[in-house]
């Protein structure tokens, strides 16, 4: 599973940022898109292992799951898709040829003390 290597990158990134701000990390805010290829539960488990012996040992991991949005040619603006198995506009059924969000895999923010 690749979640462990992702969790290790996450821990590295967060520790670097914390050091830059000379701060103690209380929580990590992470955004995971439904099309990122990352399983949220697997990432939580991997994070527990990856943070051992780091300054993040007691930090709280907060994951925001980002839904897939498409640019719907019929409805105009961004619209949710039915599901990642059915990539079409949830409102009108137009096929999703342009994805505007859902691939995110990012450390959005740190809560520091």
């Amino acid at each position: 599973m690749h979640e462990l290597s992702i969790a290790l990158s996450l821990v590295d990134t967060a520790c670097e940022e914390a050091q830059r701000h000379d701060a103690h990390v209380v929580a990590l805010h992470v955004r995971v898109g439904a099309l990122s290829g990352v399983v949220v539960d697997a990432l939580r488990g991997a994070f527990e292992l990856a943070r051992e012996g780091t300054p993040l040992a007691h930090a709280n991991l907060q994951i925001e799951e980002v839904p897939v949005l498409m640019k719907c040619p019929a409805c105009g603006g961004p619209r949710p898709v039915r599901s990642i198995q059915q990539m079409c506009c949830a409102d009108c059924g137009a096929p999703a040829t342009e994805i505007v969000s859902g691939r995110e895999l990012e450390l959005a923010a740190l809560e520091v003390a």
């Binding site: 690749h2 940022e17 209380v26 099309l35 990539m87 895999l105 990012e106 740190l110 809560e111 520091v112």
Partner: protein, 238 residues
Amino acid sequence: MSITTRLVEVRTKILKANDVTARWLRQHFQECGVCVVSLVSSPGTGKTLLLEQTLRALRERYRVAALVGDLATENDARRLARANVPVRQIATGTVCHLEAEMVRQALDGWNLHEIDFLFIENVGNLVCPATYDLGEHLRAVLFSVTEGEDKPLKYPTIFNTADVAIITKMDLAEVVEFDLTAARQSVESVRPGMPILEVSAKRGDGMQQWLELLSTRRQAALRPDTEQASVQQSAELG
């Protein structure tokens, strides 16, 4: 005692290092005029056989080379080397996918200016490779008639990152009562508009369409007015 906390915005991609290397690779490929195609599928779908036949066919008109990712063995690299083109193995060890940095290292010492097509066979896995950009121009996702028509619905993410779907082992379609219409519908459902090829690398079915698609994509990818090329040009001018 109360602890006051504050929020520090970071907004950094967790796999930033991979993205940076992939972007560097893509630009490098562009500069050298090499079109890069990656193949992903489950183990045993037929990546190596399709690649071997592709290398043999393209060798007549193009200078071709291949990288092949495998957990431990060098068997695939040995099979591909029979096509008499440069082949390198990337042993990933315990890592279940290729990363951009592995590709960069594997290319060390190769003069990419002397290659027209570079193929990359990823590790057999339909999950992890979805998350890693390798800087390729074209990603082909394969599934065979023996794996079931709903494979795309089970692994929508990898299908969604691909540019073309290839249904392999078409010579076995009849014996396994493969429902081609249902298979095409599953691809269309997870990735609307993606081209779908029906191929038997063993018998040769569909190879012509595949080779034509490769030539067309190569021209499109390396056209000087593509986005990458214009970015690169403006960087040079500025």
